[in-house]
């Protein structure tokens, strides 16, 4: 916790407000369900897990996330800097992360504990 406090810069974490605004917009705009062609509204279990992941991130100095719905009701939360980081939340599977390095290298994995998201965010912002 102390480490995170030291890393905070002002700004009040406007990215969290943006996250909630965009989430509400997707839920309002898109149809529920699933098909093989078009984006769908994230169902409640996806929204709940996405909020849980976000709740573990204490840093306020994040850029605004890109919020991208999938055709299966999944949700991608993505930050782009020199590095890229995405969290994928699925309606029927464990959440995943995707790291894209500046040289194009890609790494993916499952989010299995509460500390991974903050750690990955630190990786994103370190470069």
């Amino acid at each position: 916790m102390g480490t995170f406090s030291l890393l905070r810069r002002g700004g009040g974490g406007g990215w969290r407000t943006y996250f909630e605004t965009q989430l509400a917009k997707l839920q309002k705009e898109l149809p529920s369900g699933s098909d093989s062609w078009s984006p769908h509204s994230p169902p409640e279990n996806v929204v709940r897990v996405a909020r849980e992941i976000i709740s573990h991130i204490e840093r306020d100095d994040l850029p605004l996330p890109l919020m991208i719905p999938g055709s299966d009701g999944s949700l991608q939360i993505k930050w782009r800097r020199i590095r890229e980081l995405s969290f994928f939340v699925f309606p029927d599977a464990a959440p995943e992360f995707l790291q894209v390095f500046p040289d194009g290298q890609i790494a993916q994995g499952l989010l299995t504990n509460d500390q991974q998201a903050p750690s990955l965010i630190n990786w994103l912002l370190a470069a």
Binding site: L64, L66, I68, Q76, D92
Partner: protein
């Protein structure tokens, strides 16, 4: 359904010929700008290849009947004005994906396929329903090598 699973079965449907063009429809939620950079260009995102709950990511072959006007007309205009990403089938296969036929009369015979990844072992390869995140990112990389054939609104 063509393809199938198991030793000795061709998993990749060869109706999709080498160097053939395929189309994936792109909705505006998948082609977005970075909200942190004013006037930044819109970019394709990995969720464009998310598939449905069973993992089906639809593509269509660019056969002679496949035109933008035809896309706009199927399913009573459901995809009218939708963005169109054109990819080379060879490039998709190089990304480790295969094609499985999924008959959909709306698109006509031998036209509608779904993307699959191959898992299992060399001796017993199996079609895996869902693309993984790395494969989606590889597809985005392929897609970003050229402009969309048609941008979504």
């Amino acid at each position: 359904m063509a393809g199938g699973v198991g030793s000795g079965v061709v998993l990749d449907d060869q109706r999709v010929r080498p160097s053939e063009k395929i189309w994936r429809l792109i909705f505006s939620h998948w082609f977005i700008a970075d909200p942190n950079i004013p006037n930044s260009p819109r970019m394709l995102q990995e969720q464009a290849f998310s598939g449905d709950v069973s993992g089906d990511v639809s593509i269509v072959r660019v056969l002679p009947h496949m035109t933008e006007q035809f896309v706009d007309s199927v399913y009573s205009g459901k995809f009218k004005g939708c963005g169109i990403l054109e990819l080379n089938a060879d490039d998709v296969r190089k990304a480790g994906l295969v094609f499985e036929y999924d008959h959909d009369p709306e698109w006509r015979q031998d036209t509608h396929f779904v993307l699959r990844r191959v898992g299992g072992t060399v001796q017993q390869p199996q079609l895996q329903k869902k693309l993984n995140s790395t494969q989606k990112a590889e597809l985005v990389r392929l897609a970003c090598a050229q402009p969309l054939r048609r941008e979504p609104p």
